[in-house]
Amino acid sequence: MEINPPQSIKCKAAVCRAAGEPLQIEEVVVAPPKRHEARLKIICTSVCQSDVTLWRMQGLPAGFFPVILGHEAVGVVESVGEGVEEVSAGDVVAPVFLAECGDCADCSSKKSNVCSGIPFRPRQGMPRDEGATRFTDAAGAAVNHFLNVSSFAEYTVVDVAHLVKVHPAMPPEKASLLSCGISTGMGAALKAADVEAGSTVAIFGLGTVGLAAAEGARIRGASKIIGVDLNPDKFEIGKKFGMTDFINPKEIGDKSVIQVIKEMTGGGADYCIECIGLASLMSDAFLSCRPGWGKTIILGVEKHGSAFSINPTEILQGRSIKGCLMGGLKPKTDIPLLMQRYINKEINLDDFITHEVGFSDIDKAFELLIEGKSLRCIIWMDK
């Protein structure tokens, strides 16, 4: 029995109370961590498209709110729950939306990164304590968690299966980038697609995930990295991450993106990566890859309920389609490898950070992303 068990902490959090409404910085109470949990003091966090999607989604049940969003972050362990040995107070960690319990058949298999010990599901509370939250607001009402992280708060409670240890030499803001979007993009190139030197890669959507996929393809030595985006500014930005060619679908006249990619690659790209989340683009990506061995990787989350339609004749020509979460990476096993690569100066993370704000300006971070003006805006808790 501990002499001084951890107490609840009062702190600030950006609470979302209604779809699309600006976040309110409020006082919340963060309960101590229970078994398998750790309470983190967030150092910095960033807004990822999935935060925006859920933030403005209409038609969610009333019980979804109030909620603390945010799932890309880095923090320091403040206290741990009973029986936790994996991390201890003072450790710098990145909380991640995807678990790696280390025990289940899927965690033990090299082929999967989808932990079945703590399955990835929409949930509003702690994964092992179904429905329970560790947040209450000033009126004592429960506030929901988001994607197992809830990083738009000075303190949060996360299950240890969702914590990745951060290399001491990693600057915290760079580590936080690797807790979601950039790992997803790089993972797609390095693991899900496993891009070989000399391959041709086409990337649909040049947000942070798409640009990270380009960076992954670059370090693998892809000979051609074609970016597809409606925003012409993305060409210059993309070049920083290895892009060699650019297609703006509005500037190719009567041709289709598929035709242009086939022309550029002599029949179709070796790998096509979809980074937006639109079934019609998934279809374009699929048809832009080469018969015989072309692989399409789907990273985007389709939010309109549209089905992805595949022509049987086209797929029977030897094409494959793979979808994945976090680019196929096992968080605890693989994210540290990306951190090491950054420390070794092999990957460019710095250019993903285009803005920085203090916690009280969190709404600015949302605006910048929605307006397409930022890649990643770091939100510092202590500013």
Binding site: S112, G292, W293, I310, G323
Partner: protein, 379 residues
């Protein structure tokens, strides 16, 4: 030495869905890159049926169907050194030219030197036919083989040499359907030891998938078929469990398979050719690592609809031609496995008939009574 045309019998298809007529045809000598082959025996594959029934394709008929066969080279065209008269060969619908980027790439079997065009009804390199009927009219080729004929002409890129010691009726079935099924577990899916496999459709291709999965060490092989008799038959080929979609009440096939496999099968194979079934197969595969392989050809071209979020959960879906197998490189490996008694193929052959009874083979397959019916040319 000048080669002459040969007069012989062929089963000519003159209209969609009509019984085949045995007629006299004239088979021209082979040109450069070609060989004229005397067929020993041939078998009927579902794809023959699909094209036989196909309405609304201009210029398809008259056509000599058949693409699963074994024969002896009778003569070769100019410059052919790869095969010689007397060689036993399997004609295969898919080419392996050996020269193009796909033939040189380990992970592709889709030869781009001589790409497969299912509606191509002539010789692949010059677009002309080698068959004429009694009235002197051109008769079309089918899938680069046309084996429902005593003699046919095939491009050497489509020929696989076979050892004389292999029983011909066994080698014959490896020229398409059985290779597709076994090949899919090997090249397309790389089924691993201890895995779970679900096979949708227990025709020859599906049963061959089961046999291939068994050989590769899968420990649970679930067969899905509407015909309850297929369970007993399937057991001969490694099927361990059976699901009849008509006997699962309100539940979907994917629900049942997920239950049987603790979350989804590692590998799912669609061997019927129904886009709706492909969706079920896909949903039956395990999150994180599940692979769905499409082998069946949907004759109507109906699009396959996939829920992107189920894909995002870590599933893969892929399609191949003949299971991803490179014919010349890989079929001999399968033959070796058979000769070493590592894979069992004898039980695929359920019936035998002579050439004049060829329409019986169609009836047996349509009625679901046969797996493979060997059609002997010399009987």
């Amino acid at each position: 030495m000048e080669m002459k045309p040969i007069r012989c019998k062929a089963a000519v298809c003159r209209a969609a869905g009509e019984p085949l007529q045995l007629e006299e045809v004239v088979v021209a000598p082979p040109k450069a890159h070609e060989a004229r082959v005397k067929i020993i025996c041939s078998t009927l594959c579902h794809s023959d049926l699909t094209f036989w029934r196909m309405q609304g394709v201009p210029g398809l008929f008259p056509i000599i169907l058949g693409h699963e066969a074994i024969g002896v080279v009778e003569s070769v065209g100019e410059g052919v050194t790869e095969v010689a008269a007397g060689d036993v060969v399997l004609p295969v619908c898919l080419a392996q030219c050996g020269d193009c980027p796909d033939c040189n790439f380990q992970r592709s079997n889709m030869c781009s030197g001589l790409p497969l065009r299912p509606l191509q009804t002539a010789m692949p390199r010059d677009g002309t036919t080698r068959f004429t009927d009694a009235a002197g009219e051109a008769v079309h080729h089918f899938l680069n083989v046309s084996s429902f004929s005593e003699y046919t002409v095939v491009d050497v890129a489509h020929l696989v040499k076979v050892d004389q010691a292999v029983p011909p009726q066994i080698a014959c079935v490896l020229s398409c359907g059985i290779t597709t099924g076994i090949g899919a577990t090997w090249r397309a899916a790389e089924v691993h030891k201890g895995s779970s496999v679900a096979v949708f459709g227990l025709g020859a291709v599906g049963l061959a998938v089961a046999e291939g999965a068994r050989f590769r060490g899968a420990t649970k092989i679930i067969g899905v078929d509407l015909n309850p008799l297929k369970f007993e038959i399937g057991k001969k080929f490694g099927v361990t469990d059976f699901v009849n979609p008509n006997e699962i009440g309100d539940r979907s096939i994917s629900e049942v398979i997920k239950e049987m496999t603790g979350g989804g099968a590692d590998y799912c194979f669609e061997c019927v050719g129904s886009s709706a079934l492909v969706t079920q197969a896909f949903l039956s595969s395990r999150r994180g690592c599940g692979k769905t392989v499409i082998l069946g050809l949907d004759g109507k071209g109906t699009p396959i609809t996939i829920d992107p979020n189920e894909l995002l959960a870590g599933r893969t879906i892929l399609g191949t031609c003949i299971g991803g197998v490179k014919p010349k490189s890989d079929i001999p490996v399968l033959i070796d496995h058979y000769m070493n008694k590592e894979i069992h193929l004898d039980e695929f052959i359920t019936h035998e008939i002579g050439f004049s009874e060829i329409n019986k083979a169609f009836d047996l397959l349509i009625q679901g009574k046969s797996i493979r019916c060997t059609i002997w040319m010399d009987k």
